[in-house]
Symmetry: C2
Subunit: 417 residues, 2 copies
């Protein structure tokens, strides 16, 4: 490991000790000071961003990538506002989540504490610097940020504002650090935990980044590789509700992980096929379907086996019939990604079966899969969505960025032999 | 991967689906039937154990190892009783741990669900087969057990009883499977997750086994490598209480992970040195100390730097002065293992500082570190103690062997654009 990375790790670890004991007022003051610094530095941030964009132009980058990299005054303001919003959230640290007294009089409390040091590995979006830094701070964690090289100067300018906010609030500026080395081994070192320094890695970016992190990380990660989300329309569904939910789940925003990629329709309700397909096609969605779907509408293209497990993140959907709720549950177990799946039905017991048996982080009844979002859960901002099974599942907000310890208060208790 | 291991994984995955929906009565009936089968098969189990022991004699094994491998009627009965005890625990699956309604009317519930498939890798103790199998079943998880080769025949005989209990209760016998292959790559395959089948690994055994699992596992693990537990005796401690807690923390049982390995005494209370050292030495404990400890009692041997980070698991302790509670907190951060640490003091604010700042799974005030045990927490049986930071910290009982999902009940809600 390079000396630079070692020092980064040591600094983060000692900042984490201070943050763990910092009270809510201090952390919130820092968040507000960060927002102020970002607003005051708008010109500097935009100038840094312009340089990044100029360098980006010489490369053969996708326009969507360049768009995500691009800042403007509104996006800078959104970063500042985001930090102020995080300041208004309830402090997630120090909550007594359970408390009981043992027969011998010992009082056991389970109390929320920060996780420690969190490494965030992201691609081009400069707002991740502010969002992730702010969420880590609020939850008492030190952050080590490693952004893509294409957004380097922008991230650096934003990080300077975050550190100024920390300084003004009397917190160590090393609470939020950016990896400044261009050494390509830096990400690898982070994934190995920086010599025991990093407690958790959160990747923010496309599938190839997440796949690399998932395959190489030797520390716990909160991530989802893909969101192959399903809407199952049961025979007992209200058709109008089904059309509305299917349309929203697929088309509200097609590029988010909670957007639906597959629509399953109860074989006993094949009359739903045509109107649901029309709703999608009329909205400009390409429909790839099984034989029944193709028969129902001439514009439906044949779905390949691969389509059923493809996350399009685009206005394309796979659609077909299935054998009732059991067929849907089996289909989702086979092709899904344990992210978010929804059933539309007026039959309560069918709904409960789906909610119980689909093994996904989020299961919904009569609601759109696009609710898979920390804000929609009332968590405030989220650092991402996790599909792993342990600790955090679903939206990862500030509360999910804490762990706990047991505090035991006694009066001289010893354990009997 | 061998076909045998692949099949094991597939079987476990499909058993897990059934277990996740099995109700408490069914699981408890299986646990009681397992206990009955173990009692009925006592002769068979002891005969298998005798063969294992005979083979063990030809090897150069430690007597403590052979003792752990050895069964007798009382130990067989303890296995059966342990399963019945697990049956009496509250069902950890299906608990609604949080529930709220969003402004748009969606009702969000956070509900406990099984983790899925748990791999248990253990050494010679045959009771782990029954304990771990029973705890996994109670929490709705399928178990894949891989025991040490020295206890192979015993584990096989016990597993047969567990499967008989599953069968009698109408549950799939593949809910608890034993790795029967002698292929040495089996453990490695489990650590890699058996092709996505295993959700969690729990190692049960000595430090070398846990170290291997920690370094090779590509799936989450619940484990602790060692328990370097501290007792800090503050200047405001009641000396009699301090002696009692130090004695119990070190000497009640020296071989458990919650036994104290280091005693720190406030420099401003050096008069405590002599009586505390005497309490230990009179009980047959070897004391390795700093200069002050050596001066206080001629029988104290000098402690090396290594001693401060050594888990003796024996009647040996490292002891020395430290600069008050801040010195103790810093010492524990440097040498500890984030397992279990205790402060003895009558000063409430000093105690609160220690409880807040020591970053261990379990922190105690005026109580013995030997309370680090699921039973002592009121959890019932435990599968182990975890010192990782995520999901489970401290004792891992049936509740900690569950995860959760969000169930959302709506009435047609779609997400606004």
């Amino acid at each position: 490991m390079t000396n630079e990375m070692q020092e980064l790790g040591r600094n983060a670890r000692s900042a984490a000790k201070v943050l763990a004991q910092a009270n809510a007022e201090m952390k919130n003051a820092a968040l507000r000071a960060m927002a102020k610094a970002i607003r005051a530095s708008q010109t500097i941030i935009l100038a840094a961003n312009a340089k990044d964009l100029e360098a980006a132009k010489t490369k053969d980058l996708k326009s969507s990538f360049v768009d995500r990299l691009t800042l403007n005054p509104a996006r800078v303001e959104a970063m500042a506002k985001g930090l102020e919003d995080i300041a208004t959230l309830k402090d997630p640290v120090g909550r007594v989540t359970e408390k009981w007294t043992q027969p011998n009089g010992m009082e056991i409390s389970r109390i929320s504490v920060p996780i420690g040091v969190i490494g965030i590995i992201f691609e081009s979006r400069p707002n991740v610097t502010a969002d992730a830094g702010g969420l880590c701070l609020k939850s008492g964690n030190a952050a080590i940020l490693r952004g893509g090289t294409d957004g380097f100067l922008t991230s650096q300018a934003v990080t300077a504002c975050l550190q100024q906010g920390l300084k003004e609030a009397g917190l160590p500026i090393t609470a939020i650090q950016m990896v400044e080395t261009t050494d390509r081994s830096a990400v690898g070192e982070m994934l190995k935990g920086l010599g025991g320094t990093i407690d958790l890695i959160v990747p923010r970016g496309g599938k190839s980044l997440v796949a690399r992190v998932q395959s190489e990380a030797r520390v716990p990660i909160f991530s989802h590789l893909e969101g192959i989300c399903h809407v199952y329309v049961d025979k007992a569904a209200d058709l109008e509700m089904a059309k509305s939910i299917v349309f929203n789940a697929k088309m509200r925003r097609t590029g988010v992980c909670g957007s639906a990629e597959t629509i399953l329709i109860d074989r006993e309700a094949s009359q739903f096929l045509k109107p649901i397909i029309r709703t999608l096609i009329d909205a400009g969605c390409e429909v790839r379907g099984d034989e029944a779907a193709q028969k129902a509408d001439a514009q439906v293209r044949p779905a390949s086996e691969e389509d059923w497990s493809t996350e399009y993140l685009d206005a394309i959907v796979t659609l077909g019939l299935t054998d009732g709720v059991d067929g849907a549950i089996a289909h989702i177990a086979k092709y899904g990604s344990q992210h978010t799946d929804s059933i539309v039905t007026q039959d309560q017991s069918t709904a409960e079966k789906f909610l119980a048996e689909v093994d996904s982080a989020i299961v919904l009844h009569n609601a759109s899969t696009q609710f898979a979002d920390g804000g929609e859960f009332g968590f405030g901002a989220e650092i991402g969505i996790a599909t792993g099974k342990l600790h955090a599942r679903g939206p990862v907000g500030v509360e999910q960025l804490t762990t706990f310890k047991y505090q035991i208060r006694g009066s001289g208790q010893i354990r009997p032999t």
